[in-house]
Subunit: 732 residues, 2 copies
């Protein structure tokens, strides 16, 4: 590995990522932190956020230790799993948590400094917010790539079974997927818990504050206002970071595993196939750092100029990665370099199309959201009907884009031969890597959103002048637009990565069979092939993984159902947690009339506590579902059932996630559109209807939708990790 | 065929069905039709319903003639289709329309007579309503079974190619599926059009009448009240009838086709396998007639006694079919008679479990709906969040039931051998036949609902005494409970039938290849098998229909997406049509203040016209989607793509349909629960929130949900009919 010059792009990228993350962080800390009051409010938010993280990490630690003990038993006691698995699993959770922690530490400190800078200058304010977002972006990618590289170097040096090439490298790369399971599980907790936290606070603050008492957003008299601001960090920073850490590592690990499997008979090519995704990722980090420096703006810039300066950074990184990856792949001398380059491009283009489609479906600048806003004149019922209808229809383009992107990536990488499953699916994984290669900067533009949002909240609570609020509003609304692109990448990469993980599952099953001493795979009609050389088609034939096998079809139904039940559980959880918050806010207003007059400070901490406890209690059941469904399906229905489950869950979950995110986004922006003065403007009957739509959409777009992305990957990766149990003990 | 004594059960059933339908109809006409005012109101509804049907059938005729001309061109010009196809397609549409017409004629005449009988006696009123529902139930099953039997008799007598057994009978049975396409397309129009009509009228009447003007349900001052009553007939009678006519014929035709294919090498057994579903269906009609006579009640019966008398009829029919079908299958001497009997039982039990689960999820007697009602205290937003969450979670049991039912039916019929795909899938189709065998009486208890509902409407508008309204309310609320069971059968049978249709698709592809002169099917590794003897597994291998083929996966995404987009289109259509209705009702109230005072009669006809035109305009696009998606997928992605599309569409569409139906049902009954006096009762803040929930749920449960059942079958059947084109011209 070390002898391939191109490989060094990966550690170089990791190093650059870490260095610039530290530099940006220290640069941010040096900025003016504003007045004493601003710091006091900022301190509230920061302490709330840290209290939540501490609480969440305590529970996570418990869950992880229990599971690690279980895995250790399976590995050392029953001998059905790799003995590195428990450690890798813990490491995956740990580093994902670390990335989230870094992001939160940065974001909560940055928002007050963004507000402080906004008192004087828009350009300085953008710089603080965006570079702080980049700390998180760079932390995620360098921790992710760094860990993957470290594992490969460690395993190829110290693991006796892995020292040889061929099957050894397949073993190393597939074992690495258990790191992905740790990252996935932590991501699910972060997304679900964060999503419940933020929406319980948001819904609670809005329902009592805005609708019942008629006080504005971010008013310091609202007891839930701090919890709401903490929620933005908990959901959009820590949740999003863990989510994409998981996608990023998953795509790298799946690509490496599929590459190792595709060329298991050709050691030289095998190593190159493993290095290719790592090198592209490293290159992507380097180019993301360059992109960050392109994001600057002049004083007094309008919305258009702000957007173009952000886009400049993102687009430049993407364009450069297209050019540079062609060179890297050729320099590396990987087989079918142009084909793989085609897969990288297919991935990037798919991500952009999904991002644009998301923007079209949810931006107040386009017809769908405006139609939802227009329906607000008919009241809440017609607003909701329109949003649900729009959301469902908006799935068309993202799904088609991913379907076409998958096919193109497969065809390019397989030399346009549908029977070359190994090479083709490696191409699909590489497309996911390509899509996420510039994650350093796309995630920066995502994490920047809540920083700007919180800065606005701080400005409002400290009653800074209207020109300050105007600047933070400009930054905030820009964040909403770039968030659409970020979502596109998150959704698209989840679908591609999940596909690649399903394919990796078969490789793990093969290794498990080999480990159990089997040498032949029996096929239809009494034929059999040597297990080590069996193609993926042979496995499909052996396990009868066709669409007429009733086991596969029944499992597909169950997979699709799991996606719906999981969403229902998270949505209900928000409802319950929000109801508790509503009660508390009503109680505070009732028991201390001084709060509404502005005479006494509300008990912010109590609301923070309610959100924290609600999130903590409610995230257990959905996580259990995600872990238990693939395990039980494996035990009852075997390998064919597991693959059916994953395919059904992916197809339904992916489309459902797009629907939920876009319906929620459309309601959110329809409300903003009405607030801008259309259809009667603020406090009109239409506005009330639009607020109800927004409130209903909140758990859909910020809890259930993003969590589904993780669910489909977590189910795949649980199936992979438990493959030994399925092969050893399944009923069918 | 005629020499098998058991076969004669089928014509006997058809005859009995027709005779008793006519008797029940004439019996109903002889009843007292009430006062002059009641007849005038009844006449409004009847004319409105017939005007709608006339309009719908005109458009349908146009669409059917265009498609038949296209099919004729494909059959006679390009020679890629059977020449009987255009005629069978037209016949399917025609007889489905006829069943709907009979149902509407009966229902609209019966409701006024039910109201008239309710002036004196509950027992007489139940008798009129239920036996009128039975007219529709018996018309659907005898027209359905009669047509299928007639086609088989005709084809085996007159079709030269089909006179021989073996491949000949496969050809006859698969060609018969084009009758199913006609029935499916007509069902889609009836369901989508009817669903849009009824919900536009309902939402329009409620939003302006109830919410804005505060006048009660079914108030004669509401201009949309007649359209609303017409809508109940159009949606729940004609739509439901066409829907189940389609399911019934589809399950019979699919079972016959799979039976013919499974024993194509054994002519004697082949004929028995075709006769088995027909005989079970005939037996089911005979037992349904018996069941109808068991539904009687004593004067002054409470809700419990009413329900138990209805249940007595339905349960007795089901129990008898379980016993009798065992005898029939053994008498017939079909292979593995006990196994097939197991499949029949699996089907019936699955239907019942799905029905009970639907009742649990949506009845105000159980926790889920009560929790939604409790959330109404928090306002519209929390009501909606709770309903969406509940609906999603409620998919668990129905989907598990269908998955288990499918597996059990397959295993029983295949002798517990997962590799006997032919026999096993035949068993799945037989399970669907078993589930629908007592459709004569289950549909009666469905069609009875809108009759009782309309009777209540008539009583309200004619200001009959409170004791009359009490009786019709008792009947109506009973109808809501039995409708849940009916829905369970509709949803469960759709899933099983769709599975059987996907399997039939392969048989059609085989015939098409044979017709094109091919003799061998190439498999992996250069092997090949004689086409006529190739197993379903061989076809799966030849076309690479595995879950790792990117074409299959991409098509699965597209299928899942099609289900969501289709639902979005129908939901949006209701929104648009309802908006037009709201405008019109507001206009009438504004321009003629005498209406609200009760001095002048509103312009009912104008509202009827708006719903009719809205339904007509809006049903084209969803129908086009349902027809074009499988055709285009076939042309672009070939056979593997089509199967992936159908599987993805079925998995996602089935779960989505359950979610939409149950969420809507829960909101509907939560509203009723609040109206009974809970959480503040009528006109409380909670009631307002619950009404909004009910309004949002209307298009979900009465338009999108039921239409999805048809969509998944229609896509399969379009794929079957267009198999010649796919095999001949596809890109991949």
């Amino acid at each position: 590995m070390l002898t391939e010059p191109v490989f060094w792009l990966a550690p170089a990228g990791v190093l650059a990522g870490v260095v610039f993350a530290v530099l940006f962080y220290r640069d941010m800390l040096r900025q003016d932190a504003g007045s004493a009051q601003m710091q006091r409010i900022g301190g509230h938010v920061q302490r709330g956020a840290m209290a939540y993280l501490a609480q969440q990490y305590r529970i996570m630690l418990l869950v992880f230790l229990i599971l690690a003990a279980l895995f250790a038993t399976l590995a050392f006691g029953l001998d059905v799993q790799s003995r590195y698995l428990p450690v890798l699993f813990l490491a995956g959770g740990l580093f994902s948590a670390l990335a989230g922690y870094v992001g939160m530490q940065t974001a909560t400190r940055a928002s007050v400094r963004t507000a402080a800078a906004a008192r004087y200058s828009l350009a300085a304010s953008l710089r603080v917010a965006f570079r702080s977002g980049a700390v998180m972006g760079l932390a995620v990618v360098s921790l992710g790539l760094g860990n993957v590289v470290a594992w490969f170097l460690f395993a190829t040096t110290f693991m006796p079974a892995a020292r040889g090439e061929g099957a050894g490298l397949v073993l190393v790369t597939t074992t690495g997927l258990s790191f992905g399971m740790g990252a996935s599980l932590q991501a699910l907790f972060a997304r679900v818990g964060g999503g419940i936290y933020t929406k319980a606070a948001d819904v609670g603050a809005d329902l009592v504050g805005k609708l019942e008492r008629g006080i504005p957003e971010d008013d310091p008299r609202n007891p839930a206002v701090i919890a709401d601001n903490v929620g933005d960090n908990v959901g959009d920073v820590a949740g999003m970071g863990a989510d994409l850490f998981e996608s990023y590592c998953g795509s790298l690990l799946a690509a490496a595993a599929l590459g190792a499997a595709a060329w298991s008979q050709d050691p030289a090519m095998q190593l190159k196939a493993i290095i290719a995704p790592l090198a592209i990722a490293g290159l992507g980090i380097l180019l993301s750092v360059c992109g960050v420096f392109l994001v600057t703006t002049k004083e007094g810039a309008g919305q258009k100029q702000l957007l173009s300066s952000l886009s400049r950074g993102i687009n430049a990184s993407a364009a450069l990665i297209v050019l540079a990856s062609a060179g890297v792949l050729h320099l590396l001398g990987v087989a079918n370099a142009w084909g793989l380059w085609g897969a990288v491009v297919a991935g990037l283009v798919t991500g952009m199309v999904v991002g644009r489609a998301t923007e079209y479906a949810t931006s107040p600048g386009y017809a769908p959201t405006r139609k939802v806003a227009a329906q607000a004149e008919g009241g809440a019922a017609t607003t909701l009907i329109a949003g649900l209808g729009t959301g469902m229809q908006s799935t068309a383009i993202p799904v088609l884009a991913v379907a076409v992107g998958t096919l193109l990536a497969f065809l390019c990488a397989s030399g346009f031969d549908l029977n070359q499953l190994n090479q083709g699916l490696y191409g699909v994984a590489i497309a996911a890597v390509g899509m996420l290669s510039t994650l350093g900067i796309t995630l920066a533009s995502d994490a920047y959103g809540p920083i700007a949002d919180n800065a606005g909240g701080n400005a409002e609570m400290c009653e800074l002048g209207p020109e300050v609020r105007e600047r933070t509003d400009a930054l905030d609304s820009l964040g909403n637009t770039t968030a659409a692109t970020g979502k596109g990448f998150a959704i698209g990469s989840a679908a591609l990565t999940a596909l690649a993980l399903i394919a990796s599952y078969i490789e793990v099953v093969r290794l498990e069979l080999l480990r159990r001493g089997e040498t032949l795979l029996t096929l239809d009609g009494g034929r059999s092939v040597p297990l080590a050389e069996a193609s993926l088609q042979d496995f499909m034939a052996h396990y009868n993984v066709t669409l007429l096998n009733p086991v596969v079809l029944a499992a597909m139904f169950i997979g699709a159902m799991a996606a719906f039940v999981f969403s229902g559980m998270t949505i209900q959880a928000v409802g319950r947690a929000a109801a508790a918050m509503v009660e508390e806010v009503r109680r505070q207003f009732r028991e201390d009339p001084g709060i509404l007059r502005g005479d006494s400070e509300p008990d912010y901490a109590r609301c923070v506590e309610i959100s924290t406890l609600g999130a903590q209690r409610e995230m257990i059941a959905p996580a259990l579902l995600a872990v238990m469904v693939p395990v039980l399906t494996g035990l009852l229905l075997g390998v064919a059932g597991v693959i059916g489950l994953l395919a059904g869950g992916l197809a339904a979950g992916f489309v459902l996630a797009v629907f939920l995110s876009n319906a929620g986004g459309a309601w959110d922006n329809a409300k903003k559109y009405v607030e801008e003065g259309h259809h009667g403007g603020k406090n009109s009957r239409a506005h009330q209807a639009a607020v109800i739509g927004d409130t209903v959409g909140d758990p859909l777009k910020d809890t259930a939708g993003p969590s589904l992305n993780i669910l489909v990957k977590l189910m795949s990766i649980v199936a992979i990790v438990m493959a030994g149990v399925t092969v050893g003990f399944s009923l069918l």
